[in-house]
C-alpha cells in the first residue's frame, strides 16, 4: 500500500491522520475530535439522516468531483481516505451569509426543533449541486432524512424551490489529485486495515488475511460496530477498487462490479425493467444507496435483502473470485442457509451479471413493507414469466422474507410452466407457494400475512396484465 493512514480534505484543508482506528466513525470524529457539532447523531445506524454529510471523490476522468450524501454515523474513517468532505459548517460563507438551501429553509419554517435540520440541509444542498442520485424528486432525495416535527411540507417546499447551484470544484479537484489514487493501509492497536486499489490486490490481501472483514459501504458492518459494539479485526475497504466499481451494459446483459453502489446502478437497473428501478428507489434512503453496494447486499446473505430476489428472478449470475481464479454460479446457489453462503476462504464476490429480459417476459417485482420509503420488506417477490402464444414457457419466481435465504419458488414455478397464462394458472401458482415456503412470524410481518400477500402478488400480476390499476403509488385524489 502506498500510504499509511487516512488523508481527506475538509473545506479544502488537508486532514492527515497517520494513525486511525479503522472502526472509528466519521460522525464521532467530526463531533468529538474536530468539534464540528453541527452534524448530529439521531440513530447511529444510518436510518435517520441527521448525520448526513457530502463526500466527494475524484471522478475517473480526474477532472470533476462526484459528491455523495452519506450517513456519517456509519462511515469508517478509512473510507474517507482520498476524499473531500463537506459538512453543514462548510456551507455558510465567510461573511456569515447563508447558502441558498440554508437561507430558504430558515425563512420557510423548515425547522422546528432543528435537530434533523443539518441533515436535510446537506441532502438538499447535495441536490442543488448535482450530487449523485439527486436527479430524483425532492421527496426521494430526502427519504433517508427523518423529521418528527414539521410533517415535511416546509422542507419539501424549500427543496422544490431551489435553483441548481454551481460550485467551483477546481481547487478540490487539484487537491484530491494529490491524495487520491493511492491505496492506503494502517494499523491500530494490533488491528490492520487495507484500502486496496485493484481486485488483484484484493485477491492477494484476502489470501494473506482470509479472516479479514470486507467493508464496502458499511451499511451493515457499520451497525456491528455502533450497535453490536463489536471490534472488527483486520478490515479491507473496497471503496477504492476501480475495477469492482464498473457498470457494463453489453452483450444483452448488465454486469455490475461488486462495489457498485446502489445509487450508481439505479439507472442501469431501471433500464432492465422499470419495476426493478422502482425497487432500487425504495432500498434505503439515498444516503444508504450512496454507500451500500450490490455486492455487499448479496454477500452479507440477508434473508430479506431486497436486491437478490429480483436479481434471482431475472437469472443473475454471480462471479466469485480468489487468488486462485474465478467461478460463476447462479445467484440463487450462493445462498446456502441462514447465515451461510457459498463463499470459500479467500474468495470474494466480484460481479453480478444480469441478462436483459427477453421482450416476451412478463415481469412483476414487488416490495411489501410497513412504509414505502427507507424500509426493509416483509415480503419481496419477483416474477419473470416467459409467455408465448398464451402459454407460460418459462418461469422464475423468487422471494425474500419468506425463508431463511432469498430463494426461488420451485413449486410455484412448476405450477406455471407449460400452463396457459390465465387467471386459473396464476391462482394455482399462488396456491403452490404454500409448498415452497413456510415463512416465519417476526417483527416485519406474520407468517400468515407473508403467505397471503405473496400469493396475492400473482393475482396482482395477472390483473395488471389485464390493464387493471394495481399500484397505490399511481393514484391521486
Amino acid at each position: 500500500m502506498d500510504h499509511t493512514g487516512v488523508r481527506f480534505l475538509l473545506d479544502g484543508e488537508l486532514v492527515d491522520l497517520p494513525q486511525v482506528d479503522p472502526a472509528a466513525t466519521l460522525l464521532d470524529h467530526l463531533r468529538y475530535t474536530l468539534r464540528r457539532t453541527g452534524t448530529k447523531e439521531g440513530c447511529a445506524e444510518g436510518d435517520c439522516g441527521a448525520c448526513t454529510v457530502l463526500v466527494g471523490s475524484l471522478e475517473e476522468d480526474g477532472t470533476s468531483v462526484a459528491w455523495r450524501a452519506v450517513n456519517s454515523c456509519i462511515q469508517f474513517l478509512p473510507m474517507l481516505n482520498g476524499k473531500a468532505l463537506t459538512t453543514v459548517e462548510s456551507l455558510k460563507g465567510h461573511d456569515g451569509a447563508l447558502c441558498p438551501v440554508q437561507d430558504v429553509m430558515a425563512a420557510n419554517g423548515s425547522s422546528q426543533c432543528g435537530f434533523c435540520t443539518p441533515g436535510f440541509v446537506m441532502s438538499l444542498h447535495g441536490r442543488s449541486i448535482g450530487a449523485k442520485g439527486c436527479e430524483l424528486p425532492v421527496a426521494d432525495v430526502i427519504a433517508g432524512n427523518l423529521c418528527r416535527c414539521t410533517g415535511y411540507g416546509p422542507i419539501l417546499e424549500a427543496g422544490e424551490g431551489l435553483a441548481p447551484a454551481h460550485v467551483d470544484d477546481a481547487a478540490v479537484v487539484d487537491a484530491l489529485a494529490g491524495i487520491a489514487g493511492q491505496g492506503a493501509s494502517g494499523e491500530w492497536q494490533g488491528r490492520r486495515w487495507f484500502a486496496p486499489r485493484t481486485s488483484d490486490e484484493l485477491a492477494g490481501l484476502l489470501a494473506a488475511h482470509p479472516e479479514a472483514r470486507l467493508v464496502a459501504g458499511a451499511t451493515d458492518v457499520g451497525l456491528w460496530v455502533t450497535k453490536g459494539l463489536r471490534t472488527p479485526g483486520t478490515m479491507i475497504f473496497l471503496g477504492d477498487i476501480a475495477d469492482l466499481s464498473r457498470i457494463e451494459e453489453r452483450d444483452g446483459a448488465l454486469t455490475l462490479g461488486a462495489a457498485v453502489r446502489y445509487a450508481d446502478a439505479h439507472a442501469a437497473l431501471a433500464r432492465l425493467h422499470p419495476e426493478l428501478g422502482e425497487l432500487v428507489r425504495r432500498i434505503g434512503g439515498l444516503q444508504v444507496r450512496n454507500a451500500g453496494t450490490i455486492g455487499g447486499n448479496i454477500a452479507n446473505g440477508s434473508p430479506i435483502g431486497d436486491g437478490p430476489p429480483a436479481l434471482i428472478a431475472l437469472g443473475a449470475e454471480l462471479t466469485l473470485r480468489s487468488i486462485s481464479g474465478r467461478r460463476t454460479i447462479p445467484l440463487e446457489d450462493y445462498f446456502l442457509a441462514y447465515g451461510s453462503q457459498d463463499l470459500r476462504p479467500g474468495e470474494f464476490v466480484e460481479a453480478v451479471r444480469i441478462p436483459r429480459p427477453a421482450a416476451d417476459t412478463v415481469i412483476h417485482i414487488a416490495k411489501l413493507s410497513r412504509r414505502f420509503d427507507s424500509d426493509i420488506s416483509a415480503v419481496c417477490g419477483a416474477f419473470a414469466l416467459q409467455v408465448q402464444d398464451g402459454i407460460v414457457t418459462g418461469a422464475r419466481v423468487a422471494f425474500g422474507g419468506m425463508a431463511a435465504t432469498p430463494r426461488r419458488a420451485a413449486a410455484c414455478e412448476a405450477a406455471l410452466c407449460g400452463k396457459a397464462f390465465d387467471e386459473a394458472t396464476l391462482a394455482a401458482a399462488a396456491e403452490a407457494l404454500g409448498h415452497d415456503f413456510d415463512p416465519l412470524t417476526d417483527v416485519r410481518g406474520s407468517a400468515s400475512y407473508r403467505i397471503a400477500a405473496a400469493g396475492n402478488l400473482l393475482r396482482r400480476l395477472w390483473l395488471r396484465e389485464q390493464g387493471v390499476r394495481i399500484s397505490v403509488l399511481e393514484v391521486e385524489a
Partner: protein, 770 residues
C-alpha cells in the same frame, strides 16, 4: 390579560420564523451534547435488565469494573437519598433495587472515560435472576388483577336503560397501539459538580423543575443546591416530560460521587427500550342510537397498558375519558377506564396525553353506527354534535365556545367533501384492486392541565439600560416555537421589535417551581406570565415618565416609532437609560394562574378545562386490497388557534401534529415478544412517516375566530389538538377497507395502527363476514 390595552388590537400577530431558525440551518444551535466537553468528562451507560419481571438474586459486576476505561460503577446502594425518578408516585427507581419490573430497566450505572467504554462495560454484568411470571399484555394484566389504580368511572344519566330503550344497538371492540416519540435528539444530560455539593445539570427535559427536585431528593440536597438548565430540545412530544429524569439523575449521581463532570447520552436503541411510550388501548363499546344515527346511550370501556409504574398514567387515562365525547353529546353515558399494570416500560405522556385514544374510541363508535345504518359517517357526526340544549359534557362542563359545527360546515364545503365522497364511490365501483376512502373528523380538545394546580407559570423580564430585553420563563423550547411567541408578546408590550428580545435558556435558578411544558399550555401560561412581568415594568416606566415629564400617565404611549411622552418621542433605549438613572427597577417577575378552573376527580365533575380548541380534517386514502398497502392522498384541515400568536409557527404545529398522528395510526407499530422485549427499538424497524408519506394534496387553513376566554392575545393552544385530526386517516382507511365488501353493513375489524398487514387482514375478515 383581563385588562387589555385598548391600543393593542386583538389581531393575529405577524408570522416570524423560529428564533433559532438560522442556528438550526447552520448547525450552530447547541443541544446538550454539543456543548464543549471539559477535560475529565465521564461518559455513562446503564446495565439493563434482560428480564421483564424478576427478583435480582445477585449482581456480579467484577467484569464491568475491570473493563478498560471504567472509572466507577454504581448500584442502588450508592444512591445517597431517594432511589426515585418518578413524577408522582415514587415508584420509578433510578437503579433497580431487589426486583426488576420491565425488560431494559436500569440495574447499574457505568462511568467511563469514553462513551463506547461505558457501553461495552455495561454489557458485562453477570446478573442472577429469579424469574417471576410477567404480565406483558393487557389480557395478562387483567388475568393477574394487576392495575396501577382502581378503574375510574365517569357517567351521566343511565346508560344501561338508554341502551335498552334505543331503537338500534351495537357492540364492538377494537385496539390501538402505542407510539414511540422518536424525538430526533435522544435522551441526554450533562451534570457538572459545583462547590459545596452543588450540581448543575444540562438536561434535555420538558420539566426542569421536576428534574431539579428529583435530583435534590436523590442526592439529599436542597432544591437550592441543584440547578437544571435547558436551552432547547431536539424534539420531545411528551417523551421528555418525565422520562428525562432517569438520565439526568444518573448524570447527577455520577458527578456527585466522582466530582467529575458526567454525560449521559443514551443510545437510540436503549432509549427506545428504556423510555415510555404512548399508552396502548383496548376499547369496548355498547351503543344505542336512533335511525338517524343520533346516540341515545353509550357504555364505553377503555383499557390501557400502563406499564410497570404509575408515571402519569392516572392523568393520561383521565384525559382519555374526558375526550371520549369528542364533539358529541350523548345524553346517557358511562365511561369506565381500566388502568393495567404490565411488565413493560412504563407508558407516559405523548402529544395528546390520552386524548387521542379517547377520541379515536368515540369516532370508531360513530363509524360503526354509520356503517350499520348505511349512512355517511359525516352525517352521523353532524347529528351528534354539541349544540344548544345539548351542550354539557359527561363531566359536567358546559361547552360554551362550541365552533365545531361551523368548522365542520365550512370544511365540508371548502374541501368539496360531498362531491369527493361521490367520486370515491364511483372510483371504487370501477376499481377491483384499489379502493379509496374519505372521511371528515372533528376535534375538540380541552386546554389546561387536568391536575389543576399545574396551571401556573412564572417569568422573569429584564430591561437593560441599552433598551435590550432579556426574558426568561418557565417554559422549555422543544421546537414548538414557544420562545419566539413569547418574545413577540414581550416586544408588543413595549412596542419594540422582537429582535430586541433575547430569550435565554430555561433555568430553575431564574424561574422556580415551574410546571412541565406540556398539555399544549406553554404559550398560554408562560406567555401570560411574561406579559405580566413586562407590564409591571411598563407601568413603572409610565409612572416614571409621567413624573419626569409632568404629564398624565395616559399621555405616555409605547408605539412602534418610540415612546410618546409630553409631545416628545423617545427611543425605547433612551427611556430605559433615563429610567435607570432615575433609579427605576427594570426587572420584574411575572406570574399567572389560569382562572376559573376547578375539578373534583372523586366524582369526575367540574370544569377541568379553561377552554376548548377545535379543528376538523378531511382525509382521502387509497388501499391495495391484495397487499394492504395504502397511501394518504389528500388532506384538508381547518383548525382553530384563536387569534394566532404566530400563524407560521401554528401552521407548522398543525402539519407536524397531523403527520405524527398519521404515523401513529398507520406505520408506527410497537412489537413486543412474549418475554416483554420490545422488538421495534430502532428506526430500522419502527417506522415514522417519511417525506413521501405526506399527502400530495395538503391544505391547512386557520379558523378566524378568537378565544372567548381572555388568553394571551385571545389565542388558543396548538401543540396537541392537531395530532387528533389524523383520526380522519384511520376513519378513511376503514371506509376503504369496507369498500372491498360493499354489501356489508358493519365496520371492518381494523385495529390501529393500520399497517398493510392489518389492512389485508381486515379485508379478509370483513369480506368473510366476521
Amino acid at each position: 390579560m383581563a385588562e387589555r390595552d385598548p391600543a393593542w388590537k386583538v389581531l393575529p400577530k405577524p408570522s416570524r420564523p423560529h428564533d433559532s431558525a438560522r442556528l438550526h440551518v447552520t448547525g450552530e444551535a447547541r443541544y446538550a451534547d454539543d456543548v464543549h466537553e471539559p477535560a475529565g468528562m465521564l461518559h455513562l451507560a446503564f446495565g439493563q435488565s434482560s428480564e421483564a419481571r424478576a427478583r435480582i438474586v445477585s449482581m456480579d459486576l467484577a467484569e464491568v469494573r475491570k473493563s478498560p476505561g471504567v472509572i466507577a460503577v454504581f448500584t442502588a446502594a450508592d444512591i445517597p437519598g431517594a432511589n426515585d425518578v418518578a413524577p408522582v408516585a415514587g415508584d420509578d427507581q433510578l437503579l433497580a433495587d431487589g426486583e426488576v419490573a420491565c425488560h431494559g430497566q436500569a440495574l447499574f450505572l457505568v462511568a467511563a472515560t469514553s462513551q463506547r467504554a461505558a457501553r461495552v462495560a455495561a454489557r458485562l454484568g453477570r446478573i442472577e435472576y429469579e424469574r417471576l411470571a410477567p404480565a406483558i399484555t393487557i389480557a395478562d394484566a387483567r388475568a393477574a388483577g394487576s392495575h396501577i389504580e382502581p378503574a375510574q368511572r365517569m357517567a351521566r344519566g343511565d346508560a344501561a336503560t338508554a341502551l335498552e330503550g334505543a331503537a338500534h344497538r351495537l357492540q364492538g371492540r377494537f385496539a390501538m397501539g402505542g407510539q414511540d416519540h422518536f424525538y430526533l435528539e435522544g435522551q441526554v444530560a450533562v451534570a457538572t459538580p459545583g462547590e459545596d455539593g452543588q450540581v448543575h445539570v444540562l438536561s434535555s427535559t420538558q420539566h426542569p423543575s421536576e428534574v431539579q427536585h428529583l435530583i435534590a431528593h436523590m442526592l439529599q440536597l436542597s432544591s437550592a443546591d441543584v440547578t437544571v438548565e435547558v436551552r432547547r430540545m431536539g424534539g420531545a412530544f411528551g417523551g421528555k416530560e418525565t422520562q428525562a429524569a432517569l438520565f439526568a439523575a444518573a448524570a447527577a449521581l455520577a458527578a456527585h460521587r466522582t466530582g467529575r463532570p458526567a454525560k449521559f447520552r443514551c443510545d437510540r436503541d436503549d432509549d427506545m427500550v428504556m423510555t415510555g411510550k404512548r399508552h396502548e388501548f383496548e376499547v369496548g363499546y355498547d351503543v344505542g342510537f336512533n335511525a338517524d344515527g343520533r346516540l341515545q346511550g353509550l357504555s364505553l370501556h377503555l383499557a390501557s397498558r400502563c406499564g410497570a409504574s404509575v408515571d402519569l398514567s392516572p392523568a393520561i387515562n383521565d384525559r382519555a375519558m374526558f375526550h371520549s365525547d369528542n364533539c358529541y353529546y350523548v345524553p346517557d353515558v358511562e365511561v369506565v377506564s381500566e388502568r393495567l399494570k404490565t411488565n413493560t416500560v412504563s407508558a407516559t405522556a405523548f402529544r395528546g396525553f390520552g386524548g387521542p385514544q379517547g377520541m379515536l374510541a368515540i369516532e370508531r363508535v360513530i363509524d360503526h353506527v354509520a356503517a350499520h345504518l348505511g349512512l355517511d359517517p359525516l352525517d352521523v357526526r353532524m347529528a351528534n354534535l354539541y349544540g344548544p340544549g345539548r351542550d354539557t359534557t359527561p363531566y359536567g362542563m358546559e361547552v360554551a365556545d362550541n365552533v365545531a359545527p361551523q368548522i365542520i360546515a365550512r370544511l365540508r364545503a371548502t374541501s368539496r367533501y360531498d362531491e369527493r365522497a361521490r367520486a370515491v364511490a364511483a372510483f371504487n365501483v370501477a376499481s377491483p384492486v384499489l379502493k379509496k376512502g374519505i372521511a371528515l373528523t372533528p376535534v375538540k380538545f380541552g386546554i389546561s392541565f387536568t391536575t389543576t394546580h399545574l396551571n401556573q407559570a412564572g417569568a422573569l423580564v429584564h430591561v437593560y439600560a441599552d433598551g435590550s430585553i432579556q426574558v426568561n420563563h418557565g417554559g422549555t423550547e422543544m421546537g414548538q416555537g414557544l420562545h419566539v411567541k413569547i418574545a413577540q408578546v414581550v416586544a408588543d408590550v413595549f412596542s419594540v421589535s422582537p429582535d430586541l428580545v433575547r430569550i435565554t435558556s430555561t433555568r430553575t435558578d431564574k424561574v422556580p417551581n415551574t410546571s412541565a411544558t406540556a398539555a399544549s399550555s406553554g404559550a398560554d401560561l408562560n406567555g401570560m406570565a411574561a406579559y405580566n412581568a413586562a407590564m409591571t415594568i411598563r407601568e413603572r416606566l409610565c409612572a416614571f415618565l409621567s413624573r419626569a415629564y409632568a404629564v398624565g400617565e395616559s399621555e405616555v404611549h409605547f408605539t412602534p416609532g418610540g415612546v410618546l411622552v409630553g409631545g416628545q418621542t423617545l427611543a425605547f433605549g433612551q427611556v430605559a437609560r433615563k429610567a435607570h438613572i432615575g433609579r427605576i427597577s427594570l426587572s420584574s417577575t411575572g406570574y399567572y394562574a389560569t382562572p376559573g378552573i376547578e375539578y373534583d376527580r372523586s366524582v369526575f365533575k367540574g370544569r377541568p378545562f379553561y377552554y376548548f380548541a377545535y379543528g376538523a380534517a378531511v382525509s382521502e386514502v387509497v388501499i391495495d386490497t391484495l397487499t394492504g398497502e395504502h397511501r394518504v392522498l389528500a388532506v384538508d384541515i381547518l383548525h382553530d388557534v384563536g387569534r394566532s400568536l404566530n400563524p407560521a409557527i401554528d401552521m407548522g404545529q398543525i402539519e407536524g401534529g397531523f403527520i405524527q398522528g398519521q404515523g401513529w395510526l398507520t406505520s408506527e407499530e410497537l412489537v413486543y415478544d412474549a418475554k416483554g422485549r420490545l422488538l421495534t427499538h430502532s428506526p430500522a424497524t419502527y417506522k415514522i412517516p417519511t417525506a413521501s408519506d405526506r399527502p400530495g394534496h395538503f391544505t391547512i387553513e386557520l379558523w378566524d375566530g378568537e378565544n372567548v376566554e381572555p388568553t394571551i392575545n385571545r389565542s388558543k393552544a396548538v401543540g396537541e389538538p392537531p395530532f387528533m385530526l389524523a383520526i380522519s386517516v384511520f376513519s378513511a382507511l376503514n371506509r376503504a377497507v369496507a369498500a372491498a365488501a360493499p354489501g356489508r353493513r358493519t365496520i371492518p375489524p381494523l385495529d390501529a395502527p393500520a399497517t398493510p398487514e392489518r389492512v389485508l387482514c381486515a379485508i379478509a375478515a370483513h369480506g368473510a363476514g366476521e
